[in-house]
């Protein structure tokens, strides 16, 4: 039977089994500063049991839409290698909650605009509310990126755009 040399220490494979993560993902997370395993004399990684929780936290945080970099920030606030405790979780979960609320609000606003627009079929650059549906934040990460500002300043300045037959 397979027992870790020092009870309480886990190999990377053990940790992978316990968290459902792949071994390569765990190595990657270490590189990103999410975990800080020690090394055994042979140079292999040895994790603490608390790292199960730490990585579990990473998974949950990702579900809430945080990037690895953001999660790393959160975890940096914890004493070295410690997993989030109940007090940490209370603080952090509040942030999750507001993050999520914001996302939901954005989606709802978008839905409202869509509803207001379903009947019209205009999609007009000058008048359609959908073109300004996403606030700047929603633009990040998807869709065309303007390196300077998020929106070019001439949107809304078009006069007309006919040219398609309305054959319906």
């Amino acid at each position: 039977m397979k027992k870790p040399v020092r009870a309480g220490d886990l190999t990377i494979g053990d940790l992978a089994d316990r968290t459902g993560l792949s071994v390569s993902a765990i190595r990657f997370y270490e590189e990103k500063g999410l975990v800080h395993p020690t090394r055994n004399p042979g140079g292999q990684r040895r994790f603490m049991r608390a790292d199960i929780r730490r990585l579990s936290f990473v998974l949950v945080a990702q579900e809430f839409g945080f990037s690895i970099a953001e999660i790393a920030e959160q975890l940096k606030l914890l004493p070295d290698g410690r997993a989030p405790t109940k007090a940490d979780w209370t603080r952090i979960s509040g942030q999750f909650r507001s993050h999520l609320d914001k996302r939901i609000d954005r989606m709802k606003a978008l839905r409202d605009k869509l509803d207001a627009c379903i009947g019209c079929g205009c999609l007009s650059l000058k008048s359609c509310r959908l073109y300004n549906a996403g606030d700047a934040a929603a633009r990040h990460g998807r869709g065309p990126r303007y390196l300077l500002g998020d929106q070019p300043d001439h949107i809304g300045a078009d006069e007309d755009e006919s040219g398609n037959r309305t054959d319906a």
Copy 2:
């Protein structure tokens, strides 16, 4: 003053100005099959005015979370080069709506689970509802990817994971 050779035809720069997209993005979109400009004798792209609407549609669809590939599918259903008409829009906007509703529902479910979990601070792999918060669909594109299934089958099969002090 700058006038297109044939009225109604737009250069790529004109189209960029009218849509707020970059020239490179428009070329990229052509490559992806979203627009099909003709070429003038000199080999330069010439767009129809309807392409303004087509690209506007692309921007809106992206806002609703559709990928370029999915948008290309939608646009393929339209007669060549035609912009979406009111009838098209009515059909498509219904799809947007349900797409969006699904996303909102997912996030609300996540929020409910978070609320149920804010007090406990467990983050236990075996009991915390947050670990199964995201349905399989939510896993696509972000977070660790399991090439075979979306979830390894041993999640939920862990016995204990103590090892962190609860110093709060």
